[in-house]
């Protein structure tokens, strides 16, 4: 588990040194097409209220759940990516509580036989590897959503309920209390989110709530093995909010402890506008979920064959893929890490490399101009008009010397959104590079004749002067001269 580092949060009264203990619980909606226990579409975000509901997800009398196989496989895929153990047996349980967004008065979840346990997530923080244990990954169903009159739960005289989200498959990933700072917590979440998106199980949208996080935070005197009084924090809707809420809460707990006070085990909500965590009134007067096995769903037997089927379908994970890119394509580890940040990005790179674009050229362009355009237009390459194939053709023209780099860049900008065939355009507009030997030789001779000063400087050891000569030739060809050949011809004449 991670190195225990003492965190001094902000400058406060140095009454005591505390170790920060953070554990995170992530709820991630699975990217299935249909809901967890019924066949309603799981694509609810833009639907009219209550238009994605049926007797099952409305909890009508007599309705019965039928489990979505894909959701179970996605949870297992996640578990394997997190190095979890998959037990031979698993089952669903009912978690009983009353709330208007919970149509059956119970949530189908997993209690004592989750789909997986005992995993880990490793990630770098400030150049050091942190390992956070994963207690368990289990599968349950999401609740409906509520809107409160005036948008404030506490004062609303009435609230309205929409059950479109009810029954969307929800994976709960419970982390061990192995994190020691808000930064570690944030890095853990970012790395986890990236992983879930990479393996195609979650779309990573914190704002819309497809990826949600609660934190448990406590402080303990440095050196102590006991856990301090734990406070749960909810309502953090961005990585920044997680970081700020944890910093706030650690400082709050520290000052309570330093002033000799006692902390209360409670749930607090992060209130962005006030930059503070506030105690939440309990929604249940009595917390007793009365879990028991869900009688409407037969148990799960997770055979070796099934687990291997899931493992075989697991894509190469980002770290392994980056290492392979270094090995296979000879690019730097830094470049490989950037290019494997998302699965789409890495797939894109591999398509370029596989098509014969030199690995370094492809990396430079993908991370440079292509990435910039994707940022500016908010359209990733693989969804752009040009597409991965267009870039492949463009870089092929560049690599073969048919067009100059500046031309390639201009074409990329022009075609990125609107699309088109780069090859045809080059022919049509005569953008091909000037590589006619006789012409280039004449222009090089002219450049030498017209710049005696530069020639003298170069021969005198000033390398920069060489650029002026190349520039002269380029200017004479409107930038289309084959720069490599021009360089060669100049060297023959000046160095010879």
């Amino acid at each position: 588990m991670s190195e225990a580092t003492t965190v001094s949060v902000a400058a406060g009264p140095a009454a005591g040194d505390y170790e920060v203990v953070i554990g995170l619980e992530v709820h991630a909606q699975l990217r299935t097409r249909s809901k967890m226990f019924c066949s309603c579409s799981a694509d609810y975000v833009d639907a009219a209220p209550n238009a994605r509901t049926c007797p099952v997800c409305l909890g009508l009398p007599g309705s019965l759940p039928v489990a979505n196989r894909e959701a179970i496989l996605m949870t297992l895929r996640t578990a394997l990516a997190l190095e979890c153990d998959i037990p031979a047996h698993s089952k669903f349980d009912r978690k009983n509580y009353f709330y208007p967004d919970l149509p059956k008065g119970y949530q189908i979840s997993q209690y004592d036989e989750p789909l997986s346990r005992h995993g880990r997530l490793r990630f770098p923080v400030d150049g050091r590897e942190v390992t956070c244990g994963i207690t368990r990954v289990h599968l349950e169903e999401d609740t409906g959503t509520m809107h409160h009159e005036g948008d404030v739960l506490q004062s609303a005289a009435r609230s309205v309920v929409d059950f479109n989200r009810s029954g969307v498959p929800l994976m709960e990933i419970v982390g061990e209390p192995d994190l020691r700072s808000p930064t570690e917590a944030r890095e853990y979440l970012q790395r986890l989110r990236r992983l879930l998106m990479y393996i195609g199980v979650n779309d990573g949208n914190l704002e819309q709530g497809s990826f949600r996080c609660d934190a448990n935070v406590s402080l303990r005197p440095v050196g102590s093995r006991d856990l301090g009084v734990k406070v749960e924090i909810k309502n953090m809707n961005s990585f920044r909010a997680v970081h700020r809420a944890l910093e706030y809460e650690i400082e709050r707990q520290r000052s309570v402890l330093d002033s000799g006070g006692a902390l209360e085990q409670e749930t607090r909500g992060w209130v962005e506008a006030r930059g503070a965590t506030l105690a939440q009134r309990s929604k249940e007067q009595a917390h007793d979920y009365r879990y028991f096995p869900e009688p409407d769903l037969p148990p799960l037997e997770l055979s070796k064959e099934l687990v291997e089927e899931v493992r075989d379908a697991l894509p190469e994970l980002p770290e392994a893929r980056a290492a392979r890119f270094v090995e296979q394509y000879g690019i730097s580890l830094y470049d490989a890490a950037v290019l494997t940040d998302t699965r789409e990005e890495a797939d894109c790179y591999e398509r370029l490399a596989a098509a014969g674009v030199p690995a370094k050229l492809a990396a430079n362009w993908q991370m440079g101009d292509v990435a910039r355009l994707a940022r500016e237009t908010r359209v990733p390459l693989w969804e752009s008009g040009l597409g991965v194939d267009g870039v492949r053709v463009l870089l092929g023209l560049l690599d073969s010397g048919t067009i100059a780099a500046t031309t390639a860049k201009e074409l990329l900008e022009e075609l990125y959104l609107r699309g088109g065939d780069p090859q045809a355009l080059v022919a049509e507009r005569g953008l091909g590079q000037v590589s006619d030997e006789a012409l280039l030789a004449r222009l090089v001779d002219e450049a030498i004749a017209a710049n005696p000063r530069a020639v003298a400087d170069y021969r005198g050891g000033k390398q920069q002067a060489f650029g002026a000569l190349v520039g002269h030739v380029k200017q004479a060809t409107a930038g289309k001269a084959d720069a490599r050949r021009v360089t060669e011809l100049l060297r023959e004449r000046l160095d010879g």
Partner: protein
């Protein structure tokens, strides 16, 4: 089996039953009698016996991930005690 009035009140709250005091007291006595009778469970040897939650022996019953049409929203809301045309409506959540 002894049940205190507090036990009964706690269980009634968990079950969201707004029982009158008289009803709670009557139920307390009835539940005690039933729980006494249920002691017959103790006569059965259950050392090392597994639990039966279901009797079918079925495992891995699941469906393919294929969406099907939902109810239309009007049908979904058709039985609602209170609705605003698009949502179900409930009263103040916090008192």
């Amino acid at each position: 089996m002894q049940l205190s009035p507090e036990d009964v009140a706690h269980v009634a709250l968990l079950a969201r039953l707004g029982l009158s005091e008289a009803e709670q007291e009557r139920l307390r006595a009835e539940l005690e009698a039933i729980l006494d009778h249920i002691k017959a469970l103790d006569a059965v040897g259950i050392e090392g016996v597994g639990e039966t939650a279901q009797v079918t022996g079925l495992v891995n019953v699941w469906r393919a991930d294929e969406p099907r049409p939902s109810l239309d929203a009007a049908a979904a809301l058709g039985n609602a005690p209170e609705a605003d045309g698009a949502h179900f409506v409930v009263g103040a959540i916090q008192e």
